[in-house]
């Protein structure tokens, strides 16, 4: 079916500002991605999965300028022993980064151009697989034009988390990064990400977890208010493997986080969770698609959104159970805490099940602060504001508890406490 002309025009206008490398192993994958993108066009407001989130700012040829935000807090995950890797406006900063050496991990950079065979087999492949049945044009754009990214092959149980830190220093930066993580059989890694990255950030992470492998991901996007971000995680899970990702988003005028997971091996586990804190001009969209294509797998989606002063939260979450994916255990919950009458939460939970022996449940709620809880805390002497903050922490707890490492849970909660405290003045 031919694309409507405005869509073609918008896509070509964006493409006119971009260029891809002419040589190197990634070129065929990039060209294929560009062809995919041209065939589907950039997202439009009439597309089924863009009804709640206006794509124009993510599509525009140039990013809207975003003032640089100087954080007044200590470094995120600063209390955790980690391997730090820094990108400034999407450009790798070797001075600020630790040496790319860690037992159990082979590192390379996408921009190195060195022939990385394992990455060649993966780069753009999971993204391509994730384009069906729902198109994700911004991810194809990313594969075609990513300027850099980390290629990480995990061969053992890695002790230290790998911490990717993104800085936004230019008001007009437009960063496109594409990371690839290959977790080999029985290997295990934790990846941390934080920081705003750029005025506009397009990021893809492809994660291939082999049998009995483990991938843990904790991400904090935030406090830089004017930045825009569209991120995708594409994951493929082998037998008895584990994949867990959690994202905290505090502030940001535009965030679209997509997570596409395919459980292809029996007994695999995928947990996708997130909490967001929105105040005022804030739009946050979690779009999740989990495909069960093996027996006895478990998936959980746990999303909590705290919204005030006209903030908007979106959740589009799907569980697809393919024929034969028996004993699937699928769970999905998306909830919003609306701290006033001006904010809104738009949720679209979807289940599509083609197997008869499965347990899938989903729920979505919107509510205010629990009055019973509030009275209980005030009756113990907590002032109203402190009581509301404590109940807000309680509200996001189910999502935060999806993080396995308690130190990381504590870091996330501490940031949320800071966010709440700043609003109490």
């Amino acid at each position: 079916m031919a694309l409507p002309q405005p869509k073609i025009d918008a896509t070509e206008a964006r493409l006119a500002t971009l260029s891809m490398p002419e040589t190197g192993w990634s070129v065929p994958a990039r060209k294929a991605a560009l062809a995919r993108l041209r065939a589907m066009g950039l997202p439009g407001a009439r597309d089924e999965y863009w009804k709640f989130t206006r794509p124009h700012s993510l599509n525009a040829p140039e990013p809207a300028p975003a003032a640089v935000f100087d954080a007044d807090e200590g470094p995120f995950f600063g209390n955790v022993d980690r391997l730090k890797i820094v990108f400034v406006d999407g450009v790798f900063d070797p001075e600020a980064s630790d040496a790319l050496e860690l037992e159990g991990v082979e590192f390379a950079r996408l921009s190195d151009g060195a022939d990385i065979h394992w990455a060649q087999d993966l780069y753009g492949k999971l993204e391509e697989a994730g384009q069906s049945p729902v198109e994700r044009p911004l991810a194809a754009l990313n594969t075609a034009f990513a300027s850099d990214g980390l290629l990480m092959r995990v061969t053992g149980k890695v002790e230290k988390p790998i911490s990717l830190v993104y800085y936004h220093r230019s008001e007009t930066s437009d960063a496109t990064l594409h990371h690839v993580v290959k977790v080999e059989e029985g290997a295990d890694v934790t990846i941390l990400e934080n920081g705003p990255a750029a005025a506009r950030f397009n990021k893809v992470m492809e994660v291939d977890v082999a049998d009995r492998g483990g991938f843990h991901h904790v991400r904090a996007q935030g406090r830089d208010h004017e930045r825009q971000a569209a991120t995708h995680i594409f994951a493929r899970l082998g037998t008895e493997s584990t994949f867990k990702t959690f994202t905290l988003t505090a502030n940001g005028v535009m965030t679209r986080n997509e997570c596409v997971v395919e459980l292809t091996g029996d007994d695999a586990v995928a947990h996708v969770a997130g909490a967001c804190m929105g105040d005022g001009d804030f739009h946050h969209d979690d779009t999740v698609f989990i495909t069960h294509d093996a027996v006895n797998c478990e998936s959980r989606q746990v999303f909590k959104k705290v919204l005030r002063n006209g903030a908007t939260g979106v959740f589009q979450g799907k569980i697809l159970v393919k024929p034969g994916a028996q004993q699937t255990d699928g769970y999905q919950i998306s909830q919003s805490l609306l701290l006033d009458g001006d904010s809104q939460f738009l949720a679209k939970p979807e289940l599509e099940i083609y197997a008869d022996d499965v347990a899938c449940s989903h729920g979505s709620t919107s509510g205010a602060i629990d009055e019973e809880g509030l009275f209980y805390l005030r009756a113990r002497g907590l002032p109203r504001g402190a009581a509301e903050d404590l109940l807000t922490i309680a509200f996001i707890a189910e999502a935060v508890q999806e993080i396995e490492d308690e130190r990381l849970q504590d870091e996330i909660v501490a940031r949320v406490e800071g966010w709440l405290a700043r609003r109490r003045g």
Binding site: E371, F375, R378, A379, R380, G381, L390, I393, A397, V400
Partner: protein, 251 residues
């Protein structure tokens, strides 16, 4: 200590009068019990005194040490020394019991212009008090009341009371949902707090709690009023003969 004069209360949302003129004075050092059938207004009295939303005071007054309770926010009443042990303690996921206790203790201290309790001092105190209520470290670490049994929730209420050291304690059906052993543990916790400077108002449906927490004065409440006041023997009378004859007597 606690003085209630001709207190009249209706539901905010409905035109329904719950308390129709309650008079009650609890002196420091004394334990008063309020007994009465379901729907007599016992729990409403406890909620109105502690400041819960949803009620409208249409007449009368309630003071604690001469200070007007009804004008204060719930947290101000708590800081002034009023404590309500809830009939249904609320579960608060994601907030550790310890964190909650410490926040409560220090909020009250701050409101009274006192210095906050240091973490070492707090830890020492909480361990000591928890031990006598058979609350272990695990229970202190868990989120507030989440997954607690009925008995654990009530013991947790008493622990909060012990930590906050209020002047005036109101226990709302603290015996509900407790087996005999749990009730003894809770009663021991309450008895340990009895002192000259502290008043208690024990609201209960049954006499059995009063076997363990011996009251000085017993009031019978019916249809929004206190219809009879007497000594501990009044509780026994209720136990043996029920409320019906007392209510008839009144009518």
């Amino acid at each position: 200590m606690l003085e209630i004069k001709n207190l009249q209360v209706k539901l905010e949302e409905e035109d329904k009068q719950i308390l129709k003129g309650v008079d009650l004075t609890v002196e420091a050092g004394k334990v008063h019990a309020i007994m009465g059938p379901n729907g007599s207004g016992k729990s409403t009295l406890s909620y109105v005194l502690s400041g819960k939303d949803g009620y409208e005071v249409t007449g009368g007054e309630a003071t604690l040490d001469g200070k007007d309770l009804l004008e204060m926010d719930p947290e101000e009443r708590a800081a002034a020394g009023l404590f309500l042990a809830f009939q249904y303690p609320v579960e608060i996921p994601g907030v550790g019991n310890m964190t909650f206790l410490r926040t409560a203790v220090n909020s009250q201290r701050k409101a009274r212009g006192e210095e906050e309790m240091s973490s070492t001092e707090f830890l020492k105190l909480v361990r000591e008090k928890a031990k006598s209520l058979q609350i272990d470290a695990e229970m202190l670490k868990r989120p507030v009341n989440v997954g607690f049994s009925g008995g654990e929730k009530k013991r947790n209420e008493i622990l909060q009371m012990a930590m906050l050291e209020p002047k005036m304690c109101i226990l709302d059906e603290t015996d509900s949902g407790l087996d005999v052993d749990a009730m003894r543990l809770v009663a021991d916790g309450v008895n340990a707090l009895r002192s000259e400077g502290r008043g208690f108002l024990v609201i209960t449906h049954y006499q059995r709690l009063l076997d363990h927490i011996k009251p000085d004065v017993v009031h019978i409440m019916s249809n929004g009023r206190i219809i009879k006041t007497g000594g501990p023997e009044l509780a026994l009378e209720v136990e043996n003969e029920g409320y019906a004859h007392l209510i008839e007597e009144q009518a």
